[in-house]
Chain length 351, copies 4
Amino acid sequence: MKRVCIVGASGFTGGELLRILLQHSGVEVVCATSRKFKGEYVYRVHPNLRGFTQLKFVEPTIDAALKADVVFLALPHGESVKWVPQLYESGVAVFDLSADFRLKDPNAYVEWYKWPQPHPYPDLLAKAVYGQPELHREELVGARLVAVPGCMATASILMLAPLAKFGLISAPPVVDAKIGSSGAGAEGSVVDLHSFRTYVVRPYEPVHHRHIAEIEQELSRLAGKEVKVAFTPHAVDIVRGIFTTGHVFVEKMPTEADLWKYYRALFGDSKFIRIVKDRLGISRYPNVKYVLGSNLVDLGFELDARMKRVVTFAAIDNLVRGAAGQAVQAFNIAMGFPEDEGLRHIPVAPI
Amino acid sequence: MKRVCIVGASGFTGGELLRILLQHSGVEVVCATSRKFKGEYVYRVHPNLRGFTQLKFVEPTIDAALKADVVFLALPHGESVKWVPQLYESGVAVFDLSADFRLKDPNAYVEWYKWPQPHPYPDLLAKAVYGQPELHREELVGARLVAVPGCMATASILMLAPLAKFGLISAPPVVDAKIGSSGAGAEGSVVDLHSFRTYVVRPYEPVHHRHIAEIEQELSRLAGKEVKVAFTPHAVDIVRGIFTTGHVFVEKMPTEADLWKYYRALFGDSKFIRIVKDRLGISRYPNVKYVLGSNLVDLGFELDARMKRVVTFAAIDNLVRGAAGQAVQAFNIAMGFPEDEGLRHIPVAPI
Amino acid sequence: MKRVCIVGASGFTGGELLRILLQHSGVEVVCATSRKFKGEYVYRVHPNLRGFTQLKFVEPTIDAALKADVVFLALPHGESVKWVPQLYESGVAVFDLSADFRLKDPNAYVEWYKWPQPHPYPDLLAKAVYGQPELHREELVGARLVAVPGCMATASILMLAPLAKFGLISAPPVVDAKIGSSGAGAEGSVVDLHSFRTYVVRPYEPVHHRHIAEIEQELSRLAGKEVKVAFTPHAVDIVRGIFTTGHVFVEKMPTEADLWKYYRALFGDSKFIRIVKDRLGISRYPNVKYVLGSNLVDLGFELDARMKRVVTFAAIDNLVRGAAGQAVQAFNIAMGFPEDEGLRHIPVAPI
Amino acid sequence: MKRVCIVGASGFTGGELLRILLQHSGVEVVCATSRKFKGEYVYRVHPNLRGFTQLKFVEPTIDAALKADVVFLALPHGESVKWVPQLYESGVAVFDLSADFRLKDPNAYVEWYKWPQPHPYPDLLAKAVYGQPELHREELVGARLVAVPGCMATASILMLAPLAKFGLISAPPVVDAKIGSSGAGAEGSVVDLHSFRTYVVRPYEPVHHRHIAEIEQELSRLAGKEVKVAFTPHAVDIVRGIFTTGHVFVEKMPTEADLWKYYRALFGDSKFIRIVKDRLGISRYPNVKYVLGSNLVDLGFELDARMKRVVTFAAIDNLVRGAAGQAVQAFNIAMGFPEDEGLRHIPVAPI
């Protein structure tokens, strides 16, 4: 039984970690921190949890966290880096859901996260495992510092991984993403108000989104050469969910059988990845609608011979597979639990 | 291990039964019938189930159903009655999600369901248990014919039960209900199309909805006298969920403590009923948003001394607690499983 | 040509006033005030207006307002009262969209709006016209101080007015209202964020909402006796729109022909009120969906002989008929413009 | 005063034509046809029109249409071609909202619309004007046969036109589109039901959508060379609206000033095109939310120097600018009315 502390537990990611971990057979949640809500019942901030826990938020302090065996950091970018060194040195295992340990190049934080100087802990950076379980499963075993991938990065990387791995990427893929409002977090600005955020389709940081850095890092690693992506996310009128579309111009068209082979080679053994490319039925490609509430990744593709283009698709629940669920999956691997412990929810549909 | 057959498994209720029962530790789903989709993979009609079952729909026949120990009938009103007698006589336990065995008075089917004559099986009607677990738990133990309550009836009855039981209902309560589109089922008419069904608030069978009959039956039983209700449902722009508001003019105002006492007396031991009446937090009354995907019933109330009125509230997920979940809960009690087996989902929020 | 100033123009009501008045043939909008956005182009706060005006917000000052012939005050309750006396004395016509001059009883502000003392300007209160055009058309002619009704009050009053006028109200009606998020205004709290405000059905100030005061004032006036209402509003997942349901227990059931006669007697000459009670077609009762963007009021009713109940319905666009549109309609009558000038928009549907 | 007949008036496009033309100062709508609803009041199918017209649907016959001066054909692809020759020869002006006269190459109908043989009226095809007003304004003057562009084609062409015209397109642009449910029309299949169509983000005909043909035709014309596009549309959870994103890899990056110049050169004189690229305000790029109910086209762009990419954006209301509004705009030009007659609606927001 692992004693777990969630630091930054009042946000959406924190709420999902609680939803998952409260029913994880190998976990006892011993603390949930929130500066803003300290002393308050957790269920008053996460009303879905009413009746499932009597936990109260506590002040976020290193001391509180050190009482746990494992800490999940659900903090803003730039905050986690203040917590990780001491926790790590104290022997606590850390699953960091921020970006602070995702990029291997210390200088990348200057470019992508506007840090005034390179990452201050390059040694820890080197030790941190990029926690995408399907692509880093072996490194995760026993890991004590895991950088959980970004939500849009997760979908983008997984849908393109087979193409990168099997040499189909010659020109930079276009990745056009669509994301729900929960990605903006539980403390919003005026444009996140219901009246302003409904009925939108609009771009969002259309040419320099920070997830590009980790997408390129992972795809380059898989391809064995530098891969760059032209990435543009859009806000759409849903709360949960990310859909990414990859437009990949290829030198030589693969066959459909090739693509099936490549996707299966990478993901055939995964409990969470479904390849959705069907000839029949009401849902023949991935669709955000059919992954909600689950840790699944639905991947798909289509061939456009006319344009020498492969189109790839991914649909995930951004709060589960894009954050809390993927973190728990990585935790399960690291700690020796079954990979899907606490994560066996069938998606809720229709919703 | 119970062998279960779901008859009428291609609709939303059938889909939810599958979602729940596929992860029920004491159940093996041995058949799922659909006339329309026979021979087709279940996951092609319920895309959320892809990867969780390789079951195919089969033709709905008594013979198929008789191979199971337990049959869930998710058929339209007027269809179940053709199945129940033979199944029942063959010793199969039947959980009927239609209205065909809910009303104790055989003549009520003429009035409320426009049957040309009274119910043809009054003996079976007498044996059938009205399967609302919190109010009929003892009758359910060992039951072999269970009439699972209607969705809007469930919310209406539960929110008013304490008032009926403890003598507060003197004049007919007004019950104003709000319901999502999934209540109309998976085969819709033009007004159920997305373009027509979004952005609606409109009444729906505003004075003679069929659920009135079971609401009055149950409240009268609890009150020990005839109780009639003025019931008006409305369509609102959600897929899942029912919210009911009960406006009860009382002869003598109870105190808030009285009401807490009455609600706790009836539901204090329930694993699924939350009384939501809080002074703090972001959700101080029931809200459809915080029960989605779960079998929970959120009940609440408020006192209006100025008008000598008690206002009561209920929020449920119509597909879970209003249909499939309540059916499984009744099944668990009948069969001796833990009452919440397969039903421990924490609601998914925000969504 | 009237020179108009909109005070408090950065909110939703201000935005709608601009949308309507920018295309009103008899109006020149000479100022739009906003403390928060002064100096900013109006279209940067109301992006739908881009290309339709080059107006910039100015500091809200009496001096700025005095340059206009007519001032629309779209200010919070308790703010308008600081502006009205000086504007009124200076000869400017004032259309106040707050509640500050709606209630005729100066003491009512203590009870319903928690003012520390009665209304400080009882003389002005006596002069103010309650600006619901269909019920106060004659008083509005030439009026210089108009209190524009509240949004939920408008729907509630209009749907019940014929019953009040023609003696059908003996017991207090139950009014169950459903409202969109724009009613909360353009500056929200956390529960107004998209992620929190989608997929809700929940009560909102369920027993003591402030609009009760004006509903009772108007219905009592029409009935010639005191009428009280049991009013409970609910938040539903739309941005625009209010739907009200009135449950009226009557001593003697009217016929359907009676009701048609009563509704036509009051509203038969109105350009904006549609009585929606149809035997055929896809929309046989009022529905928020079919009034969006317009100043229409859709009214309907149904008879429940079993319960001796008349059910009444109203659907309006809260920002148009519940605020800006009704204000302009009152302005048109007061100033001698055609009553529908600037208000001839056909509802946009489907949306 | 033009006498107008709308053939196929029961669909969404027909409804929008009615909404617009009923308030057009130069038009009398003399007939609206519908096979399915003949004899029925138009407002029973388009409830927003209740009170604005007493018109009834009539059987769709050439004779009925010939009584008008102008006919709008809102028929399915493949149907219009049966009507146009006789109407045209009889001297009636025809505005065809189907695809039947959009493509100049008679053989293209075999490839893109699966016609068994080339277009049977190549002479009429040659005479038909592709009715995108901003790009064919001069040809439209006096035109008697106008092929109104497709909805997604309109957005795609307009956002890329300046790049095509000014030589920036060297490689095939990726066009990633997002569209609401109304694009599927008023008679849907099961996947168009509310319960199935909410909460979706999913691709839709991802590699061979028929609008590609007209997009390539128009861009090639503007560029003076063949331009091909890699086009993939997606269904998102809105009713109205199209958003298109163009990803254009360029040989040499233009400056921002260049792009402003190119967009202004083509569209600076348009009453309906807004270039939305702002440094301040709550909406700095195009957004479906801010064009609803209007004939506007919001265009925008962003520069991605890192990738040598120009990203372009367009947002339109698919039923207005993507169909009925653009048809009326073309009609206005053809007939000598002011180009914006009947089309001056300011977008309704928030909604």
